[in-house]
């Protein structure tokens, strides 16, 4: 019976995290913040996976997926941050607008 009460909250949280993530990706120009926004989006997805496992009556499935995603996502974050470091080194800035040289 717990699941019924908590589910709306979880779903609301998923939407919030996703919304925040996408909104941040649309407006923020700082590269570190962009990586953080990506993390927020993926956290929303994690929550959704766990909740889905619960809903389908297969908690293990949800959790094992979530764990895998955490690993994979960390790798992406590390690569992203590493690139950010290099970009700071070469451009002297993390501002997306001022590193945008490739266009048209």
């Amino acid at each position: 019976m717990n699941s019924i009460e908590i589910l709306p909250v979880v779903i609301a949280a998923v939407f919030c995290l996703l919304g925040i993530g996408i909104y941040a990706l649309l407006v923020t120009r700082n590269l570190i913040k962009v990586v953080v926004a990506l993390q927020i989006m993926v956290k929303g997805a994690l929550l959704a996976l766990v909740a889905a496992g619960r809903l389908a009556g297969n908690v293990d499935l949800g959790q094992s997926m979530a764990l895998t995603v955490i690993v994979a996502d960390t790798i992406v974050a590390v690569v992203g941050l590493a690139l950010a470091v290099q970009i700071r080194r070469h451009f002297g800035t993390l501002d997306l607008k001022s590193i945008a040289t490739l266009r048209k």
Partner: protein, 502 residues
Amino acid sequence: MIATKTAFTLLIALPLVAAPLIYLIGRLVYRSGKAKNNPAGWLALIVLLLTAGLWVLLYLRKKTETLVLITGQVTMAGDAVFLLMSITAIALGLMVVMFSIFYMRAEPGEEKFYALLSANIGSIIGLSATTDLFNLWVWFEAMAVTTYLLVAFYKDLPGSLESGIKYLVQSAAGSALILIGIALVVAETGTLELNLMAEMLREPNALLLAAGGLFLVGFGVKAALVPMHTWLPDAHSQAPSGISMMLSGIVIEAGLIAMLRVLGVFLQVTNLFGPLLLGFAALNMLVGNLMALRQTEVKRMLAYSSVAQVGYILLGFGTAFTLGVSDGSISAFFHLMNHALMKGLAFMAAGVLIYTLFLRNGSHATLKVTDLNGAARKYPLAALAFSIAVLALGGLPPLSGFMSKTAVFLTTFYTLNPWMIALVIFAALNAVLSLGYYAPLVNRMYRLEASEAVKNGAPMPWLMALPLILMALLIVVMGFYPMLLSDLFIPAGVNILPYAGF
């Protein structure tokens, strides 16, 4: 002889396991100063040749037995789509390695390049063999991460870093959307097996529709559907040329195939995915061709042409998904293989020129269209290969591009649906438009006064000639005999619609 299962496991595992070995051996040997040149490239070549050998073994066995690999809860299936995608990746990889041994020589961290390339090919092989939704995502992510690193390989070049981070952010946002889609599907069905899922998904349902939409957009980033394509021109033009070949030739297509495998499950839920794919096809063709028309950098132009070519591939798959005719997907697979060949050759020939004109002279300059002037005077083979590649992309006979494009048009037209006929006319007009940028490239290379860059260019290394000749020859042969590889693309085309129930 080794058992089929072992061979199948090895085929998937070998490039992945070899990746760290290539890195370590390359680094250790090179650092110790025992070898004049880094052996990583040759190691990668050996690994890929072994992989290709395993593939041939499996291909022969496939005629008598089905290839299934079950480890724990994860099932891998060696179906026809797998065979096609994996050989395309392996063959293209072989060409890339042969070409890169000189191209990447003297780059710092050369061993990293080959290790990542090997891992990338391994993940594409894995991606094409999986039948499990979450597993698909994991392979997809592995492929993505290796490509981020490869795109941003020149870690001291601003353009390379910029395109790397753009690609990463866009692609990662897409893969977060895929995860949400997975969560929705799991909540509804409780399974990750695509086969099981297809049997359970029969009723339209808002959640499932949303999941399908998320998959379409999420995988669509990787497959470069317009308007999610914006990373592609940056990444393709800034990556090392060998990686441009991989990206354009197989990585975006792998994303597309992953998408289609998943969307195939949803065909009972709604019949809207076919028309949506066709809509993206039209958009891709138009935007890709128009954007390519005014480009001044060769690789960026080729990148936009990839956007347009994805449109042709989607046209075939869209037809298959709309009306359930496997002819559509057969011709789409034919064009997919052909595109790997043609675009691979185009990027390789451009890469040869970049190497001889710039890299050998210590410059990382971009290859401008005007640098091609008179290239045939000094580099007849590269110029000829480039001409063959772009004229094939433009769909002129007697080159393979003509055959596959005609096949796609044909299968779409065959439905005699007025909308489809209109789309074929639109696509044919687009093909004419594309000649507007392909043909002038060819004109430039012949007879014109050689550009400064060409005059100062270094001679072409012998090893680059081999893949150029091989690929050009294959394009011409398939132009005369299109059914050369039909044993691969016909079963694959039938295979991609297994769940559709048409």
